[in-house]
Every structure is written in structure tokens, then in C-alpha cells.
């Protein structure tokens, strides 16, 4: 490999991002070529070593209190949905009402009417079943993400 190619790869060599064979080749070249060795040392000296030895800055002590205050301030604003949709009982009732309105308002053409209507009836039955307190509550409690880390994060 010539000097130009070696110099092209020096940044990756410094970061140990080259495969073993290339890395050995560059290593050998640097031990025998003064010009490339000087460039290698200059790259390390001009930035890499300075940044890698830098001390880590720490977050200010009171930052958590500020974040906590920010989170508590934002808590009451539930995202987007109108108030009545946020209440589970209302949301079920609303869903049932929307489906009933959709069935009565939309006139479907001949053959498809039967299939869609029976699908909609099934949906109504299902929503009524849920609205009577069946299903959802128990199911929601049973959802377990299963891993310790998920419990920790969520």
C-alpha cells in the first residue's frame, strides 16, 4: 500500500475500525515511514488525544428537581382526545353510538348490504358486551410484558 492510501485510512486506523490484516499493514508501514508516522501523531495530537482524555461534565444538582417540576406541570394535559373520549365508559358508549349511526345513515348497495350489516351487528354486540363490564377490564390487568426491564421502564 502506498503512502496516500495509508493516510486515507489513518482516521479509521485510529478508531480501530479496520480489519486485522489492514491494521497490521498500516502498523508496519508507520514503523518504517517517517512522513506517515508524523501525520498519524499529528492527528492524535491535534484532537483525538485531547478529546479522549477530557473530563466528563456532570449535570447540575438541581436539574432533577426542575425536570420533575416540568413533568408534573405537564401531567394533567392528556394528549389530544376530547374530554368525553378520555373516560372509558363514555368512549365505549361513543363507539357504539357511532357504529349505530353509521349503519342507519349509510345506504349500502344490494348484495354487499347483507355482509356489512351482519358484520356491523357483530361489532355492536361486541361493544355492548364490553360496555356491560365484560372483557376489557380483566384483560387489561392480565397484560404482562413479561420482563423485568420492561416493568422497570414502563
Amino acid at each position: 500500500m502506498d503512502c496516500k492510501k495509508i493516510r486515507d485510512l489513518l482516521s479509521e486506523y485510529i478508531d480501530s475500525e479496520l480489519n486485522g490484516r489492514l491494521s497490521v499493514e498500516i502498523n508496519q508501514h508507520l514503523s518504517s515511514c517517517d512522513g506517515c508516522r508524523q501525520i498519524h501523531e499529528a492527528i492524535l495530537g491535534s484532537s483525538v488525544n485531547i478529546l479522549r482524555r477530557s473530563e466528563r461534565t456532570k449535570a447540575p444538582e438541581d436539574l432533577w428537581e426542575r425536570i420533575k417540576a416540568g413533568l408534573e406541570e405537564k401531567k394533567p394535559n392528556r394528549p389530544f382526545a376530547p374530554l368525553f373520549i378520555q373516560q372509558p365508559a363514555f368512549s365505549l358508549a361513543t363507539a357504539v353510538a357511532i357504529i349505530i349511526i353509521a349503519i342507519t345513515a349509510i345506504k349500502l348497495p344490494g348484495r354487499e348490504t347483507g355482509v356489512v350489516a351482519s358484520y356491523m351487528e357483530d361489532q355492536i354486540e361486541f361493544f355492548e358486551y364490553l360496555a356491560n363490564g365484560n372483557g376489557l377490564g380483566q384483560e387489561a390487568e392480565m397484560i404482562d410484558l413479561g420482563t423485568a426491564i420492561e416493568k422497570y421502564l414502563l
Binding site: 478508531d15 491535534s46 483525538v48 478529546l51 461534565t57 449535570a59 425536570i67 416540568g70 421502564l153
Partner: protein, 169 residues
């Protein structure tokens, strides 16, 4: 909130350090960090473990810090100059150790100040946070060749400036 405080304690210094190195000063870094944790809290349920939590947090931190930095340059029309973190947070005294610390801090600031936001993000993640090219690519959602070329260009820039300084300075 207690569980979230544990997350904060585990990664706050990491987030703050990235934010401080990418933005130009402590005030922006604090605002960015605050913003990052509010975003993490809001989107925690969307985190699906497809990437590591650290990568996800780094991504939010880098993007938020870059936005903060751009907002400031837009507002002032200038790239803010790095402030001296050690001087603003600790009692200034003239012991040799403190002097060395401030000099090192100034050197880091002057290096990072010469880069644009994209290059700075790559350099911070590589040389300060120690991420591999793959991890940087995943964090910034860019191609690994872009990581490679941004780091190479940044180092060439430092080299040219060093040569110019030693020749004319």
C-alpha cells in the same frame, strides 16, 4: 416517578455531557437535558427494545442538543462560544490542577467550536463517548460511510488548523 428518577440518575450525566459538548454552553446544555428527559418520559412507552435504551437516549440527546444549538445561532446570528464549565460551576482558585483543568477545557472547546453540528455530533460520540462507527450510525440514523467521512473530514480540518497555527502562530 420513582422509577423515572432511577433512569434519570443512571443516564443524566451521560446526557448532560453530550448536550454540553454539542451545544456551546451550560445554559443550553441544561435546557437540552431538561427537554431530553421530558421527551424520554413522554415517549417511554413507545420504546420497543429494537435498539438499546442507551442508543435511543443518545439519539434524543444529540437531536435535542443540535436543535438547541441551531436555535441559538439563528437567534443571535452567531455561533456561541463555548463557556468554561469548570469556571462557572466551581470556585475559581489558582491551584495548578485547576489551571490545567481550565486549559484542557478550553482546548476541547476550541476544537469542537471549529466543527459544524453534524461533524460535532460524530466527534463527540466517537472521541468523548467512545461509540463505534456502527453505534454512531445507529444513533444518528445515518449511513456508516457518512460517519466515516464526517470523522475523517473533521480530523483533516484539525490537522490543517494545527499546521496553520504552528506556521503562522
Amino acid at each position: 416517578m420513582e422509577a423515572f428518577e432511577k433512569i434519570y440518575k443512571a443516564i443524566s450525566n451521560l446526557i448532560y455531557n453530550v448536550a454540553y459538548r454539542i451545544t456551546n454552553n451550560t445554559q443550553d446544555a441544561e435546557e437540552a437535558t431538561q427537554d431530553v428527559f421530558i421527551k424520554i418520559h413522554r415517549h417511554l412507552k413507545e420504546f420497543r427494545f429494537r435498539s438499546s435504551f442507551k442508543t435511543w437516549a443518545y439519539r434524543i440527546a444529540v437531536n435535542t442538543a443540535i436543535n438547541e444549538s441551531r436555535k441559538r445561532s439563528k437567534k443571535t446570528g452567531l455561533v456561541a462560544v463555548y463557556d468554561d464549565h469548570t469556571e462557572s460551576r466551581e470556585t475559581v482558585n489558582n491551584t495548578r490542577r485547576d489551571l490545567e483543568k481550565r486549559e484542557a477545557q478550553a482546548a476541547i472547546s476550541s476544537i469542537l467550536n471549529k466543527l459544524n453540528c453534524d461533524q460535532r455530533a460524530c466527534v463527540v460520540l466517537r472521541d468523548i463517548e467512545g461509540l463505534s462507527y456502527n453505534e454512531i450510525a445507529e444513533t444518528l440514523k445515518i449511513n456508516i460511510n457518512t460517519v466515516r467521512s464526517r470523522l475523517k473530514r473533521a480530523r483533516e480540518k484539525f490537522l490543517v488548523l494545527k499546521c496553520a497555527n504552528s506556521r503562522f502562530g
